[in-house]
């Protein structure tokens, strides 16, 4: 099971820019080739940045947090045991770093049912939403709707749909039971559907009809 997942992970990420898979790059970095780490940064920067953006809600903070994440991952690279995919290990660092960031910012992150979180997200993302109505693009609408969700919901949706993580891996990243992660994902999608109907009713009608 593990071998299959790992192979899937490597085949997906394997030959993008460096021609080396994650394990090969990590071996090179650990043996002293610091520049090889750029291969991992290039490969995962959009995933890490998107996840960070789900928490921070603005690009400047997301960029700073993402840099911090890659620096932490570099420092702790010797602790990566290879028992999971590198991406799963990296997203665990993303999750912890982003939660710390939110704590510092004194935002509430843990309550799934806290409407206040959505209100914060609503106010922070209103500019993007206004821009989106003009674009009438499906993709932009979904991205913007995800931006309106609370960090917990936005994170789990991004991990499942964009970061190539299974429910078991998501549970590992978030420190939850698999079933709990599954329930959280269901709830997050339900809330996303509500957000789309609430804020983009015209676009949603076009899609459903």
């Amino acid at each position: 099971m593990y071998v299959t997942c790992r192979q899937n992970g490597l085949s997906y990420t394997g030959r993008m820019s460096t021609g080396l898979n994650d394990s090969e790059i990590i071996s090179k970095v650990l043996s002293g080739d610091q520049q090889a780490y750029a291969g991992l940064v290039n490969r995962y920067q959009t995933y890490v940045f998107t996840l960070a953006l789900r928490f921070t809600k603005n690009r400047e903070d997301a960029e700073e947090v993402s840099q911090d994440i890659f620096i932490k991952a570099y420092r702790a690279l010797a602790d990566f045991k290879g028992t999971s995919k590198f991406s799963t290990w990296l997203y665990t660092i993303v999750n912890n770093t982003c939660i710390t960031f939110l704590r510092k910012k004194r935002l509430q992150t843990h309550s799934l049912d806290n409407e206040g979180v959505f209100e914060v997200a609503d106010s922070q993302d209103s500019g993007l939403r206004a821009n989106l109505v003009e674009q009438k693009s499906r993709v932009a609408m979904v991205n913007s709707a995800i931006g309106l969700l609370g960090p917990d919901d936005a994170e789990i949706i991004t991990l499942f749909y964009k970061s190539e993580q299974t429910l078991e891996e998501i549970a590992q990243i978030l420190g939850l039971e698999t079933n709990t992660a599954k329930v959280r994902l269901h709830r997050a999608r339900t809330r996303l559907k509500e957000k789309m109907q609430q804020h983009f009713s015209e676009e949603v009608k076009d899609i459903y009809n």
Binding site: Q34, Q67, I71, A78, N143, M196
Partner: protein
């Protein structure tokens, strides 16, 4: 009666994600063929699923990789945790504390007067124990506590030194 949409959605999401059991999948397929309401809900969720798959990743600035590489050029990889935490020390600590607890228990039970009359039930046995005798020698207890604190302090120093040494080597 109003149908439970939450449950329907949960079952349909499991079906769409392919996480449900084989029996459940068959049951849902039958429901989708026979029940119009389920069918409408299914297509609605399928649309959301497709939309989510079509969402895009955000890209950081062009200088991102360069910034990270500049930062890490000043840093070293920390040694793996497993190289400076010796499992034998953790086992040793565990055995030390268990031995301490067992020693106190044996000493305490040794103080109990088992020949006293009364019913031989478990609650009576428990009631017979004079808990004050567990710690009846103040000097001994203070001595033991100081030893334990000193032991922990020395262990902490030992681990901190070892970690520092590894970091210097790295």
């Amino acid at each position: 009666m109003e149908p439970d949409y939450t449950e329907i959605e949960e079952r349909l999401w499991n079906y769409i994600d392919g996480t449900g059991a084989a029996g459940e999948r068959t049951a849902i397929e039958q429901l989708l063929q026979s029940n119009a309401e389920w069918k409408v809900k299914y297509h609605e969720l399928l649309e959301v699923n497709e939309l989510l798959r079509s969402s895009e990743l955000e890209a950081p600035s062009m200088r991102f990789t360069k910034n990270v590489m500049e930062e890490i050029s000043r840093l070293h990889i920390a040694p793996a945790t497993r190289t400076y935490i010796n499992k034998r020390i953790i086992w040793g600590l565990g055995i030390f504390f268990i031995t301490m607890i067992l020693g106190f228990l044996v000493y305490g039970f040794g103080q109990v007067n088992w020949s006293a009359e009364g019913d031989m039930t478990i609650s009576n046995y428990v009631n017979k124990i004079d808990y004050s005798k567990f710690f009846n020698n103040t000097y001994m207890n203070v001595f033991m506590m100081i030893n334990v604190v000193l032991g922990l302090f020395l262990l902490d120093r030992y681990l901190a030194n070892k970690r520092k040494k590894f970091r210097e080597e790295a």
